[in-house]
C-alpha cells in the first residue's frame, strides 16, 4: 500500500484573528498556524492502514515554514517520507489552486490512496479532496470515519458518516482520494523529544515551481459576525455566576 496524506497549515482559531488593512484577508503577521485538525485525522488513518498492511505513508505538508514542523511530527509518528510544498500566504486556503498544484505530483507518485481532511477551517470552495480526485480522474468519498483496504490493495471499504449517527458503507476502487472526518482512533501523541530527533534527521523533498493560475472564489471582505443576538453575560466570580445560573434554573422550573 502506498498512501499519501495532505497536511494543510491553517490559522489557529483559538488565537485572535486580525483582519488585514485590505479588509479581505488575515493580517499575515498575526496568524498562528496549526495543522488542519481533520488532516491530522487523515494522517492517523494512514498510519493505521500502514500498521495493518505493508506499505508506506508519504506526508505532504502545504503552507509556510510551519509545514516543515508538521512534517517532522508526521515522521516522528511513523510517516516514511516528507514532501514540503511551499504555498504563498494568499493561496493557502485556496483549494482550487492547491489541487491544480498537487495533481501532477500525486499522479507521478502512484499512490493507492490519497487521504486528507474532509474540510479545512479556512475553506471557502469545493474542498481539496473532491477537487483533487476530479483532476486526477479517480473516485472521491468524504466524511469518512473508517477505512479498510482489501488484501490485494485494489479496493477500499469505507464508512461514511450521515446525520443522526448513521454510517454508509461503500466499496471504492483504488486509486482514490478519501476525505477523512475522523480516524478510527484519536491522532496519536508523540513526545517532543522524538519530534526533535526527527527534525534533526529529517530529509524533506520539496515540490518547487510557481503556483498555477487557477480561478478561485473571490473574497470581497472578511467581517466579524454581527449576531442579531448576543448572550447576556453573567458577571462576577464563579460563586456569583453559579448563583445566577441556579436562579435561571429555578425560574424555569427545572430544579
Amino acid at each position: 500500500m502506498k498512501a499519501a496524506v495532505i497536511l494543510r497549515q491553517v490559522p489557529d482559531v483559538v488565537e485572535e484573528l486580525v483582519i488585514a488593512e485590505d479588509g479581505r484577508s488575515l493580517s499575515e503577521d498575526d496568524v498562528m498556524y496549526i495543522t488542519n485538525e481533520l488532516d491530522e485525522h487523515a494522517l492517523e488513518q494512514a498510519l493505521l492502514l500502514k500498521a495493518r498492511h505493508t506499505g508506506t505513508v508519504t506526508a505532504i505538508g502545504l503552507g509556510g515554514d510551519a509545514a516543515r514542523d508538521a512534517l517532522a511530527t508526521s515522521v516522528a509518528k511513523g510517516a516514511d517520507e516528507a514532501v514540503f510544498v511551499p504555498i504563498d500566504f494568499a493561496a493557502r486556503g485556496d483549494n482550487c489552486v492547491l489541487s491544480a498544484h498537487l495533481a501532477a505530483a500525486l499522479k507521478a507518485g502512484g499512490y493507492d490512496v490519497v487521504l486528507t481532511g474532509v474540510y479545512a477551517t479556512d475553506q471557502l470552495d469545493a474542498g481539496l479532496g473532491g477537487l483533487l480526485a476530479a483532476r486526477l480522474g479517480i473516485p472521491y468519498v468524504g466524511g469518512l470515519s473508517g477505512v479498510q483496504l482489501d488484501a490485494g490493495g485494489r479496493k477500499a471499504v469505507v464508512h461514511k458518516e450521515y446525520p443522526g449517527g448513521r454510517l454508509g458503507v461503500m466499496e471504492v476502487d483504488l486509486p482514490a482520494v478519501l476525505g477523512i472526518q475522523s480516524a478510527e482512533q484519536p491522532p496519536r501523541y508523540v513526545p517532543v523529544s522524538k519530534v526533535m530527533q526527527a527534525r534533526r534527521t529529517l530529509r524533506v523533498k520539496e515540490l518547487k515551481g510557481p503556483l498555477p493560475q487557477v480561478a478561485g472564489v473571490t473574497v470581497r471582505k472578511l467581517l466579524k459576525p454581527e449576531s442579531s443576538a448576543h448572550a447576556k453575560m453573567l458577571e462576577g466570580d464563579e460563586d456569583a455566576v453559579a448563583g445566577q445560573i441556579v436562579n435561571l434554573v429555578k425560574e424555569r422550573g427545572l430544579l
Partner: protein, 328 residues
C-alpha cells in the same frame, strides 16, 4: 429553460425530503423573487411517487427516477446531476453543505466548469455575480465572496433559511425523467447503511443537557460534569472532539454528524460554538454557555454566558444546586 435560472439539488432519504431541501428552496425562492429567475427543484430518487404532490416553493420539480438512485453514491449522483445541470445551464445551483453536498461539489465544479462556494449562510445575486456570505475559521469570521453567476455552486449551511418558506400552497409543475447520464463503469458501490446502536440514553428526550467541549481538557474532568448533570436530572453530551477522544460514546455527540437536540436547558461548557455543533443545539429553549474566550461564537447562540473558568465553576454550581434542591 431561460438563462439565469436557479436549481435546488434536493436531498431525500427513504421517500422524505431532508430539512436542508426546504431551506435551500426558501433561499432559492427569495433569490428567484428578487431576480425574476425561474426556480427548479432537481430530485434524484429510486421512487418518484412520494414527491409528486408536495407543495414545494419551486416553479418546477424535476424528478430523476432510477433504481440506482436509492442509496447515495457520489459517483452516480455527480454523473446524473452533471448531465441535467449541463442541459439546464442555470446561473445558480444550491447544494447542501452536508455529507452528500460536500462530496458532490468538487466533481461537479470541474465537470460543469462552475465555481463552488461552501459554508454559505446568505446568498444574493448582484449583476452577473453570485455574492455569498460564508462562515469561516470555525464561525469566528464571515467572508463575503463572489463567483460568476454561471453554474455557480453554492453550498448552503443547514439552518440558514426558514424551512417553512420552502413550501407554499400549491404543488409545482412536475416532470419525471429516467436516469440519463448513468453510462460507464462504477468505481464506488454503496453496500448498505449501519444504523446507530440504541445506546444508553436518547439525548432528544432529556430535558436538561450538560454539554462538554474541548475546554473540559481531560477525561477525568468529565466526572464532575456528570455529577452536575445528575444534580440537574439531565444527561451529559459533548461536541465531536470530545467524542473523538473516546471520552464519551458516539451516542452522546450533538451536532451535524450526531444528534439534534432541543432540551429545555442546554448548558454548554468549554464549547467554542463551531457551526457543525451549533447546528445540533441552536433550537434549545435556554442555552447557558461558559467559555473563557469572550469572543467564542457560542455566545451568539447562548441566551446567557459567562467567561469564568468552568473547572472553578462546576463544583460551586453543583453544590448550590444541591442546596437549592434540598431547601425546596
Amino acid at each position: 429553460m431561460s438563462p439565469g435560472g436557479i436549481v435546488v439539488v434536493a436531498e431525500q432519504e427513504k421517500g422524505e425530503l431532508a430539512d436542508i431541501t426546504l431551506e435551500m428552496l426558501a433561499c432559492g425562492r427569495e433569490t428567484a423573487d428578487r431576480t425574476g429567475w425561474p426556480l427548479t427543484c432537481l430530485l434524484l430518487t429510486d421512487r418518484a411517487a412520494p414527491f409528486k404532490a408536495l407543495p414545494l416553493a419551486a416553479d418546477r420539480l424535476v424528478i430523476v427516477e432510477d433504481p440506482s438512485l436509492g442509496a447515495f453514491n457520489p459517483e452516480v449522483h455527480a454523473r446524473v446531476l452533471a448531465h441535467h445541470l449541463k442541459a439546464m445551464a442555470p446561473a445558480l445551483v444550491l447544494l447542501g453543505n452536508t455529507a452528500t453536498g460536500m462530496d458532490l461539489a468538487g466533481p461537479l465544479s470541474l465537470l460543469l466548469g462552475g465555481m463552488a462556494v461552501s459554508g454559505c449562510v446568505r446568498v444574493a445575486v448582484e449583476g452577473d455575480a453570485v455574492v455569498a456570505t460564508s462562515r469561516l475559521y470555525g464561525g469566528k469570521l464571515l467572508a463575503q465572496t463572489s463567483v460568476p453567476a454561471a453554474l455557480a455552486l453554492v453550498l448552503l449551511m443547514p439552518g440558514s433559511y426558514p424551512r417553512q418558506k420552502g413550501m407554499r400552497d400549491r404543488a409545482p409543475k412536475v416532470e419525471v425523467q429516467g436516469g440519463a447520464g448513468l453510462a460507464g463503469p462504477l468505481r464506488v458501490r454503496p453496500k448498505g447503511i449501519i444504523e446507530p446502536k440504541a445506546e444508553d440514553v436518547d439525548l432528544r428526550k432529556v430535558p436538561v443537557l450538560v454539554a462538554a467541549g474541548r475546554g473540559v481538557q481531560t477525561k477525568d474532568n468529565l466526572r464532575m460534569i456528570e455529577d452536575l448533570a445528575r444534580t440537574l436530572g439531565g444527561a451529559v453530551c459533548a461536541t465531536r472532539p470530545v467524542v473523538d477522544q473516546g471520552w464519551l460514546p458516539r451516542s452522546r455527540q450533538v451536532g451535524r454528524s450526531g444528534v439534534t437536540v432541543k432540551p429545555r436547558l442546554y448548558l454548554a461548557l468549554g464549547i467554542s460554538g463551531a457551526p457543525e455543533h451549533v447546528e445540533g443545539m441552536k433550537d434549545s429553549d435556554l442555552v447557558v454557555a461558559v467559555n473563557t474566550d469572550a469572543s467564542a461564537p457560542i455566545f451568539d447562540v447562548a441566551h446567557y454566558g459567562a467567561t469564568v473558568d468552568l473547572l472553578d465553576l462546576i463544583p460551586v454550581l453543583t453544590e448550590k444546586l444541591k442546596a437549592a434542591k434540598g431547601g425546596k
